[in-house]
Symmetry: C2
Subunit: 362 residues, 2 copies
Amino acid sequence: MKTDRIHNFNAGPAALPLPVLEAIQESFLNFAGSGMSITEISHRSKWFEAVINDAVARVKRILKLDSRHHVLFVQGGASLQFCMLPMNLLKAGDTADYVNTGTWSTKAIKEATLQGKSINVAASSEDRNFSYIPREIAFNTDAVYAHITSNNTIKGTQWAQFPSTGGVPIAADMSSDIFSRPLEMDKFGLIYAGAQKNIGPAGVCLVIIRDDLLARTPVNIPTMLRYSTYAEKNSMYNTPPCFAIYTVQLVLKWLEETVGGLDKMAELNRKKAGLLYDCMDASGFYRGTAEKESRSLMNVTFRLPSEDLEKDFVAEAAQNGMGGLKGHRSVGGCRASIYNPTPLTAVEALVDFMKTFERRHG
Amino acid sequence: MKTDRIHNFNAGPAALPLPVLEAIQESFLNFAGSGMSITEISHRSKWFEAVINDAVARVKRILKLDSRHHVLFVQGGASLQFCMLPMNLLKAGDTADYVNTGTWSTKAIKEATLQGKSINVAASSEDRNFSYIPREIAFNTDAVYAHITSNNTIKGTQWAQFPSTGGVPIAADMSSDIFSRPLEMDKFGLIYAGAQKNIGPAGVCLVIIRDDLLARTPVNIPTMLRYSTYAEKNSMYNTPPCFAIYTVQLVLKWLEETVGGLDKMAELNRKKAGLLYDCMDASGFYRGTAEKESRSLMNVTFRLPSEDLEKDFVAEAAQNGMGGLKGHRSVGGCRASIYNPTPLTAVEALVDFMKTFERRHG
């Protein structure tokens, strides 16, 4: 069963830790002695209460959150957050800063603008095809929040350090690098992350919101679109996506107990990405598309000398048990997504294959 | 493994067909030869495309939909639909009718009102504690839609026939009885159903919308809240809740191929509910709470002579391998939810237990 699994470099939904998948499979017909599947138990039952409370506790512990932070599970993915964030936090007369670093930031800006909110694009890397993270940004200190996309899956860039905003809380889309490294939580007022890259399956979005921003939530917007609804009801105003939250709980348990927390995770992620970037940099064959200082440790994007070679590369990799290496359909090229769950052995196998491929075709 | 499973009478999330759970478990580490779990495959992959396309095709075939109907999968449950429905369909000057038959209808009305939409409560059964479905309703023929809740999980009532609305399309919350019986689709303009009762796990909501109502969707509301976004992108504008949609696909396959379609399903549902209502009616001990003509075939609500006996009933049932029989926390009493997946044998076991309990305590 295990041996016919591939090395999964998908950009999302993406690889999950094998022990997590095995635990789900093992108890799938009878969860925690309930006599029911995790998909059949009531969200008001003691069994699910234990799941969601443990998931919340692990998020707080892993990120060293304090009592100001609320941990929410919301449906609709990061794409719904693009609209919920300005809807909840910006009243008439309020303004927010957005840094545009690619496709996802652009969508976040679009959804704020669509609602007629006053926002300011404080910086953009569109001038060089989003191949870098802007530096020296003049943030507006009157902004309610400063929005960034911490990691850009399509262009393969990542904020190595988070910007100084003059005290304005950062609101970050961390869908593709949440829990990949320790965070200075003092900088952040709100973090959101679709689960399907670093922490679980598609179908749930983690939101962390600080008291002062939560207090801005208006009462006259739809109940399901208000952060306060989720904060007041432990994310169970209505039936939550139980299976997805359960999987997140198991991934966080794996992160704490098997990996050993965020410092260990960050070290492993640096090592994995380092192997790939070193391979590219030592070669005249593979060419990284992101500027060096802005390279992502999660999504390694690269080109080969020709599109034909790129097609061959992806096809031969698949024949060798490596999937998901095709670049995003909007940019082409190749991409290896190596989120938290991707094991070092998978990256080592890919590097070996890249070297062999280069020898044969270079 | 199977023998330690209980008879599950939960109101939702609820029982799923055992063969569906077994199929998920069996392939959980390697879906369809992909070498990945269903939770790890890309939603843009051939594997997931096949899943969602098959799920859509089955919905259309089972309900005999035509080319006017669009089948969408949306996150956020029926509770998000309470807001999306009026947001999408009611412009300034438009009005809609709502029939209030309990908790869920009340919430649907609240979310429309919250948005400042013009709605008219055409009928309500609040006068007798929502124990019946209103008849002889004067619908407004100028309404854009007439909203009903086809089955009321908390009060145990259900529309046996759907009302004549003078041509106004019905918009129905069918979360708790979708696919339980054939539908005259000509009456409906929009149907929505949270999956976690009759068709799958929590985390996805099925929406069926007709062309003429879809055309009303405005372009200036948030992208993720527009029905047209889902219709144009086969529910994959962003990453959909893949695992939940996959489970829905398997439940629909079971409904078509194992049960044999909606006529067979309806017959079985009448038989299951009949056993329970006959047991109650033959007893002076159990007392149904819904008026006879309005009884639900999905949620059988009843009281015992005292609250102490109700507590004993639920506890002893649990000792006998039957779970989920406690009434909703807002109304108390007992409730047996017997959605499509609940097998006849589970209902027979419950009836036997009810008779034994009555003999000992009656």
